[in-house]
């Protein structure tokens, strides 16, 4: 089993169905890098609406990882109002997003190894 507060939602939902746990872990592992690229591209294109949509998508993609820091960061991106400095602020959030994502990827890798 995993440490408390990270994948507990996933295991509670799975109720012992490890095929399902693996499926969700695989999907999250695949989606996290793609979601980051999408957010980065939308920021580069100064497309605030798309950043908000991509942040929302990423939030759904990692919904079964209980990580408050990531959840707050994505909510901040998703709820960012239009302003002159919105894109700059989003750019500044990117390093933290990448750092937490890397941590989550490691968590998923470790979990998958544990499951075997």
């Amino acid at each position: 089993m995993t440490e408390k507060n990270s994948l507990s939602y996933l295991y509670a939902l799975a109720e012992g169905d490890m095929v399902f746990v693996n499926e969700i872990l695989d999907l999250m592992y695949k989606n996290i890098p793609a979601d980051i690229i999408a957010i980065e591209e939308a920021i580069s294109a100064n497309d605030l609406k798309q950043v908000k949509r991509d942040a929302h998508h990423m939030k759904s993609s990692i919904q079964y990882i209980d990580d408050i820091e990531m959840s707050e960061l994505l909510s901040a991106m998703e709820n960012k109002n239009e302003s002159d400095i919105a894109i700059v602020q989003l750019k500044n959030m990117l390093p933290a997003l990448k750092e937490i994502s890397a941590k989550l990827m490691k968590l998923i890798e470790a979990e998958k190894k544990k499951i075997g």
């Binding site: 939602y9 509670a12 939902l13 799975a14 109720e15 169905d17 399902f20 499926e23 969700i24 999907l27 999250m28 989606n31 949509r53 929302h56 998508h57 939030k59 759904s60 993609s61 990692i62 919904q63 079964y64």
Partner: protein, 240 residues
């Protein structure tokens, strides 16, 4: 599970999932598969893709995401006249109030937890059972005209028109004026055959001869369609 108590084995509930996110779809699918009285008939990534399946397969329940890029779940509900039961699944609480304005059965927050999911679908199942009992199976209606009850075949009704405390029921060349509200008479009519096209008009769908912008032609009558009913009316038609 206590399903046998409700007789779920004999009347499964067909459902479809509509969500743009594959993790969310997988999680909801897992919940459906754990629920013996639910049968999954389709999984869709957007509402537009699901529209045809809803019309042709007539699922009993939609498990619908709210925030999707093509069209929001709430906007999707607005386009229907006779929508199946809907359980909205979203990450934001603030949609709840608006959602209940559209008579959704329940509202679940992401990440979906199975006990909450089961509560919502059980509510839908119970509503289905009670609706089944209430839905008029008869194709007849007796209306009180002056001192006698007159028999009408629902197939013959063309239009029902509100008239203060009364309604006019048009059947071929005849008109009956009956003491009733539009809501009371609407509840007596099968939703698959009749549609409220305006605050003051209900029409029988298979009697529609023509629709020209905001006007429906039935027999010799021209019936207005209210702006917010245009999409539900168009969706109720079997169009080519």
């Amino acid at each position: 599970m206590e399903n046998a108590t409700f007789g779920y084995e004999t009347s499964p509930m067909n459902c479809i999932i509509i969500d743009d996110n594959e993790v969310a779809r997988a999680a909801v699918k897992h919940c459906v598969e754990k629920t013996p009285f639910l049968t999954l008939t389709g999984v869709y990534t957007n509402p537009i893709e699901a529209l045809e399946a809803i019309k042709s397969e007539k699922p009993d329940l939609l498990l619908l995401d709210v925030e999707m890029p093509e069209m929001s779940g709430i906007d999707f509900i607005k386009t229907f006249h006779d929508i199946p039961q809907v359980i909205l699944i979203t990450s934001k609480k603030e949609y709840a109030a608006e959602a209940f304005d559209f008579n959704v059965t329940d509202y679940i927050l992401k990440p979906v937890e199975y006990p909450r999911f089961l509560k919502a679908v059980t509510k839908a199942k119970e509503m289905q059972e009670s609706l089944r009992k209430e839905t008029p199976e008869s194709n007849e209606l007796f209306i009180k005209v002056t001192n006698k009850f007159v028999h009408l075949n629902l197939n013959d009704i063309l239009v029902i028109e509100a008239l203060a405390d009364y309604v006019n029921i048009y059947v071929d060349k005849q008109r009956y004026t009956v003491l009733s509200t539009m809501k009371a008479i609407e509840d007596k009519l099968p939703k698959k055959d009749f549609i409220r096209v305006h605050r003051s008009y209900i029409v029988r769908i298979d009697k529609i001869k023509e629709i020209d912008d905001q006007i429906i032609s039935i027999a010799d009558q021209h019936i207005p369609i209210s702006r917010n009913m245009k999409d539900p009316v168009m969706n109720a038609l079997n169009k080519l």
